[in-house]
């Protein structure tokens, strides 16, 4: 699956010569007007070349991992799934654009609260109550707007300064939710409806005890996010991110609008996070400010770093390690090793594993020192070019 994803976007610069739409659905093609058909053919051709089908297969395989799992493991899987989606988005911000964001879960929270507000008729602050499915774009767009609002004034900052601002942003969002009566303050929002749908008279329910269905939704979202992220990575936008990350002084001299490109990264990250927030809110049905501690932001960042900064697949694996591993350690048993109770010490073991991994996993633990690029980079502005955030890897 890993290869399917990593090679899916190869060959972008070649002229696509894949199968055409009219070969695929000749019946439909006959009734479509000439001009539209031409467009469809080109899109189909390009999309075949893009390996859309590989994403479908990868997504199906990923979704299938839930099938052999019964409770409570499937529940753990979905919980890990939220963080997999979050890590994918954060990897764009931290890994690709090199912006150290310590408040990423704030957007997750904004997505979840938006969902709660627009689906729950108890909220009463506004008359618009939507079906959960229609709230997806709302949650995504509002998280995205929040990302742009935070980013516009702050993305001029570099490295550590940005980290502190985002850290503060997380806390601002959390405290706002805690004190805002409209969203029930610290009591949180109850009874958020599940995204049940009726298709052709057949009702498809998403119960709170059916985590597998949410896992399937998450798989669809993850593949969509992965597709778009891979597309961006191979485009001029991705190259700009790389340029900004490597050398923030040289990048604008090459004509790259640095703040705008950083905003793109922030917006992509925030909207992915908002999407994950939608799944959380509809799955759990209850959210409160306590669901979004600062630690979550840090752990998602851990996932990205452990997986290998800059790699989407790494972010997914990292999330499984950071959020799945502690749960797996729960299963080891209650016996004592060397007088040490594994069950109570599992978080300590987890911490130790993180440290060991950071030391021994070269891909993730060898960030490039900022000044080491090609004889010191173009650090003509001596004082300013020293704060790189997290240096990425190629």
């Amino acid at each position: 699956m890993s290869e399917a994803i990593s090679t899916a976007t190869a060959g972008v610069t070649n002229r696509p010569t894949g199968p055409q739409f009219q070969d695929f659905l000749p019946g439909v093609a006959r009734v479509i007007p000439e001009g539209v058909l031409g467009g469809l053919n080109r899109i189909f051709e390009a999309w075949t070349k893009l390996g859309i089908f590989r994403y479908l297969i990868a997504g199906a395989l990923l979704a299938a991992t839930a099938l052999p799992l019964g409770p409570p493991k499937d529940e753990v899987l979905v919980r890990t799934g939220f963080y997999m989606l979050l890590a994918l988005g954060l990897n764009v911000v931290v890994g690709l654009a090199g912006l150290l964001d310590l408040g990423y879960v704030a957007f997750f929270m904004i997505g979840a609260y938006t969902t709660a507000t627009f689906t729950n008729s108890d909220m009463g602050a506004h008359p618009v109550i939507l079906n959960p499915w229609f709230v997806i774009p709302v949650a995504v767009v509002i998280a995205l707007i929040a990302g742009i609002l935070l980013g516009t004034p702050t993305l001029r900052l570099r490295g550590d300064y940005l980290a502190i601002v985002t850290l503060g942003f997380h806390e601002i969002v959390r405290q706002t939710a805690r004190n805002l009566e409209v969203v029930n303050g610290s009591r949180g929002v109850f009874s958020i409806p599940h995204p049940d749908v009726t298709i052709a008279g057949q009702e498809l329910t998403f119960g709170v005890l059916e985590p597998q269905k949410y896992w399937f939704i998450l798989c669809v979202f993850m593949m969509a996010a992965l597709f778009m992220i891979n597309r961006l990575k191979d485009s001029r936008i991705g190259r700009s991110w790389e340029a900004i990350r490597e050398d923030e002084v040289a990048a604008p001299a090459m004509g790259i609008p640095v703040v705008k490109m950083k905003l793109y990264a922030f917006a992509i990250g925030a909207s992915t996070s908002g999407l994950a927030g939608w799944v959380l809110a509809t799955k759990v049905g209850f959210i409160s400010p306590n669901n979004f501690p600062l630690l979550s932001s840090i752990l998602v960042l851990c996932a990205v770093v452990i997986g290998g900064i800059g790699s989407s697949l790494g972010a997914l694996v990292g999330a499984v390690i950071v959020f799945g591993l502690p749960e797996l350690l729960r299963d080891i048993g209650t016996e004592k090793i060397l007088g040490f109770d594994i069950q109570t010490g599992r978080i300590a073991i987890f911490g130790l594993l993180l440290v060991i991994m950071m030391i021994f996993r070269p891909g993730a633990s060898s960030p490039r020192p900022a000044g080491a690029e090609l004889g010191g980079g173009s650090g003509d502005i001596a004082g300013d070019s020293v704060a790189p955030g997290i240096p990425g890897q190629a």
């Binding site: 190259r239 001299a253 090459m254 090609l374």
Partner: protein, 277 residues
Amino acid sequence: MSAVLEIQGTGIRFGGLVALDDVNVNVPEWEIVGLIGPNGAGKTTLFNCIMGAYTANTGKIIYRGRDISLLPTHRRTALGIGRTFQNIGLIRGLTVVENFMVAQHSRIGYGAWSALLGVPRSFAEERRLKANAMEVLDFIGMAHLADSQLEGLPYGTLKLIEVGTVLATDPDVLLLDEPSSGMGPDEAHEFGERLLKLRKTLNLTVLMIEHHVPLVVNVCDYVYVLNFGKILTEGKPQAVRNHPEVVAAYLGGEVTTDEEEQTPQISPEEETAGVTA
């Protein structure tokens, strides 16, 4: 001939240190103008002001009659001012050809949405980007290195590649920051020849910081000498190099007669340290 780039009374200070004070430089169309001066004179700082990496406290930067003092750097690049860096402003981690593609950012493009959804237009533009990149690479004779990583390439080659990436931004004024640093005398001479050819084929105007005196004398039409943030003198290269004050500035007081080959090599660290301290 009209001036392409005019620096009018530019001054900048960092805390108590006056890095540049009322600097006036005129770069006429199709000329190669040299900017020389000892360590910490403010040469690179002046480049940073021209490109907008620093905002000058006083004065104006006029490009083709337009005041660009407040534009962000990438807009200045888009207008046609290309700049190289003392320590090579290439993007490590990208291949040579990808660097050339990045450099065309303001010249050609497609939006985020096209990229996001993979619409055919983005492929067509990518192909054009790459074709343009290859054209420039071919032009500077580096096409065989297109897919190489930057790591491991010799310093002189990297310097040339950097000039190439700046050409890919389609500039009409080139700001070269010590293009011959790290080159031997032969290489530097060869670079000078290339530069003259480049100007001829591409109709370039050049402002360059350079320490290699023979190169300055061979290539430059006019030279400004900067010392302690002020223009010390200006003139034709031959005249300037025999100017007693220039000699004094470089050698510290005593005026000697055989100074020209003793021009000190100035290391980038000292340069920046002096300017930003």
